[in-house]
Every structure is written in structure tokens, then in C-alpha cells.
Amino acid sequence: MTSKNLPPWQFEAFRNFLSFEMLQQACAALCSRNGISLSRAEKDLRYLNDSLLARTGREWTPDRIPGGNVVWQTEGSLFRNKKRVFTGFYLLDPSAFDDLGVLSLTDFGQALGLGLVSSNEFYERIVKTFEFPHPAYRENWEWWTGANLKLRPLALILEVLIYLSEFSSEFAGISIAEMAHFGGATPMNGTGPEIAKRILESRMAGGSFSHTRSDALDRKIGDMFGFLAMTPFAVKRGSELALNPLRTDAENSVNSWLSVEAIKEIVAPLTKEGL
């Protein structure tokens, strides 16, 4: 399979904006402006941006607004730039942007903004529900539904790590190139255990393989590694991602050793009644 017809993996690159702490506060700011018109409310959007900045300490509009008298430009507006941060994680309804409707936080977005979702629950939920075809990404949706295939990439990466760690702690981390090369064409390339097995076989045979880096896949996998390293489930070790051996439960201020069984439950296939 050439890189051109590889299954499209989508994931947002704004890593600093994807943590629970950041998105919880951002959704709290959005809660207070939920329902505003997206087509005319320049003033509201400016207020919203101030509120986001105050709550998160970060500028949410792109850093390309000139000084002087120009304080706002459509090209660099908040949602044009960061819309997918919210829609990709099911926090804002993407169709509201398509037909220039009103700012619409989803149930999940409202619950997050209202403080009803804990950090662990947030990360578990994203790992569980981030799935291709992804309804917030039109092209992704069309490709995956057209191919009649499904994939939960974050869960898949964790699943590969689980099987590697069960084999030997020495082999427990994976690189972006390994994930892209052995798992990038997934699900045609097989399940998590099958990918893990191929990675192991390659390592035991010396670990060299020929891989052409693709921006569409390797970069997205890198972004996913970055996100997973923010969750309680995984850590970055150099450029590799590995399971997190020590799990910190910030809410109860305790550390505990990782329960692989617990992560297995998170990456397990969704039930019919599931999300």
C-alpha cells in the first residue's frame, strides 16, 4: 500500500491545548457564551478570547495579528484556528460552524465546563471514543465509512504497548516510525497484538526496517503520542512512548502502580450500548 492511499489518521497538532486542565477551563469559558451567534458576534468572540486567555494563560487566536489599529481579523479568528481542538474531542458541535449557526457546546463539552468530569474520566473517555471514521472530520469520515472500516487509534497504540510490556519490559516502548510502519495501514494490518508481534519480530531480527516518513501519518502518530503522554496511561521516554508504570491520581494525591488490567478495560472494544 502506498502512502497515498493509506487510511487517513487525523489528530490535532495543538498539543499544549489538549490537556484536561486546559480544555476544562476553556469549556468553562465557552459555557458562559454558549448559544452566541457565530456569524455576527465579533464582540462576543473577542470577549470569549479574553476569557480563554484569562482562564488558561494562553492566547487561543493565532499569533499573526498585527499591532496598530488592527485588533481582529477573520482569517485569524479563534474558531478558524482552534475549532478542531474542540470538535475533535466532541466538545463543540461541528455542524454549527458549517451552517454559521450558534456556538454549541455538546453535552460532554458542557459537563466538562461545568466541572462534572474528572481528569481521569476525561482521558479515559477520549481514548475510548476517539474513533475513525471521525464525525468531526468530513474527509476522514468519508474515507473510513466508504471503506467500511473502524479504528480507535489511541486505544490501538495503548493496546500495542500493553502487549509489548507483557512480553518484556525491555521491549515495552515504541517509536513513531515503528507505529507508522507496522500499524499505519491498520486495521488492514491487523489488531494490536498482531502489530506488537511484528514489532517484536523486527526488533529480534536486528530492528532495522525501511520506512518512508509520511507527514500525514507519522506526524499524526507523533501528535497522538504527545497526547497519550499527558494521560495517566503512558509516558514519553525520549522519542518513544511507553506505558506509565507509576500512576498518579492527582485527585486523591496518591501514586499507585499501573494496573495493566485497568488499561485493558479502557482499550477493550466498545460494547453495543457503549459510547
Binding site: L105, A111, P135, T145
Partner: protein, 322 residues
Amino acid sequence: MSGIENDRNIEFLKKSSYVQIENTYFADPFNELLGAALQNFPVILYGPPGTGKTRLISLLIERLRADQCLGKYELVQFHRKFSYEDFIEGYVPTEIGFSRRDGIFKEFCSTPSAGGLQDVFIIDEINRTDLASTFGEVLYALEDRSTRTVKTAHFGDEFNIPVNLLLIGTMNTADKSIANIDFAVRRRFRFIPVFPDKFELLTWISEFDWQVEEFSISDYIRFFERTNLRISGSKQLGSHMQLGQSLFVPTQGGGAITIEEITRNFRDFILTQVEAYLGFGNLQGLATIFNGLVAEEFISRRQVNSSAFSALVNESVTDKSE
């Protein structure tokens, strides 16, 4: 909308649904509240207005009293002017200057009931004040209560929260100020969702003398369900803006419910509430939640006649698509 677009929207709605999942965990909020009460764990009951949060607390008080384990209880309602000085301690102006005064919560904590009795302190509308500032050191004292004491900010008194004190708050999720609760407060409370409950509505409304001939109680319950389904599915509203069962019970009639009264209740409480959520004069929004006829009549004349309301209720029964 094309089929594929429709499928995308449905999938997105499914993935972003939240209350549905919560409700499977919290099927019975009273038992959840009782469970927290047994451990004296601070709780916050949250949900849309009119879902019976305050009533659940009354039920808990009755239950504790019946079990002979209720010590004392106190209820305060937070509002924008409620401050640390009112809650914990502060100086109050007098005719000759200022005098020290303990706040309502400090006072309550200073005389705990003995003999295994449980004291209950209730804060209604807990999100309506700046919680971190009103609570002050209470946040620290809420944990490890048997060992923790803390010095108060103004007078430097030793303060602790008795182990037998149950702190209960209520908050309304339709109120946007709820978003202002910070992490320190959140993690010290257990959040119990209280959402619209058709069985509660059925039980409650069955206690009245139903004199409506145009539709039955079960038709009316179906109308309640459909209205909330439409609100939950609305992009502008969502499930946290649903209408609680209490909005659907006319309580002015002295025991009897007539078509005129239930129509008036619909106009004065239900329609006005949804209109406030959607924006005043939002004809299209109201028509989507109810129907065009009712919306037009209400927006143009601020009236709804009983035949239009009856038709709306009966629509919910015949329309099986929702």
C-alpha cells in the same frame, strides 16, 4: 441534508452525549445521597431547575429524623452578596463602630450534636457566590476532619468541621455561573446528578384531581418526555437545560387540575422558561421545541389557548418518531 451528513451528525451526537452515561451510574439520586450521608461525605446535587434537588434533601432530613439520627440542620441560600464574613466570620458595623461576629457556618460547627447524631448543613444555590473566597479555610478543614484544625483568617480562632456534619449543596446546571467553581472546591465534593424524572412527575400529578378531558395524565407525561428530548437534542440548549418535573405541575388550583389551569401553567412557566433559554422573541426556536402554532400565538400575543395546547400534547402521543 444528505444521508452521510445525517449519519455523521448522529454519530457525533452519540459520541458527545454525557448525561445518558451519568444516568446509568446514578439511576437513583436519593440512594446516592443516602450513601454519601452515611459517610458524611460532602455532596452537591446538580441538575436542571425543577428536578427536585431540594425535595431530595427534605426526604433525607425526614429519613434521618425517622431513624432518630438527626441532630440539627440549617439551610442557607448563597447569592452574590453572600461572603466569607457571612459564612465564617467578620466585623459588622454597629452604632458605635464594629463588632466581631461569627458567620452562620462557624456558629453551626461550634456546637456539634453529641450521641452519634448527624448534623446537616445545606447550601442552596451553592454556585451563586465566589466559592473559594466564601469558603476560605473551610476547604482545608473539610478533609481529615477528625485531626484537622485551621486558624480563621480574621480572628485567628481554631476552627474545625465536626466529623458528624453532612454538608449538602445544590446547583442548577442551567445557570451559567456554575462554570466558575474551581478545582479545589470540586474535588472535595461528590457530584450527584438529578435530572428530570417522569416517574416523579407521575407520582406527583396523580395526587391531584385530574379534571382535564382533552388528554390523559399519561399523554401529559409523554409531552413532558418529548419536550425534554427536543431540548436535549437542541444545539442551542442541550440536556442541562431540560425542564424539571416541577414546572409541569400547576400548584395553584387547590387540588384540582383543569385544562385552563394546565394551559396557563404551560404559558407562564414552561414557555417562558424555554423562551428565556432561547432568547426572547425567538419564534423559530420555540417552534422547534413545541410547534409553530403555539410559538406564534405566544410570541405575537403572549397567549396560548387551551385547544392549541391540547393539540400540542396530543401531537406528542401520536408522533412516535421521537
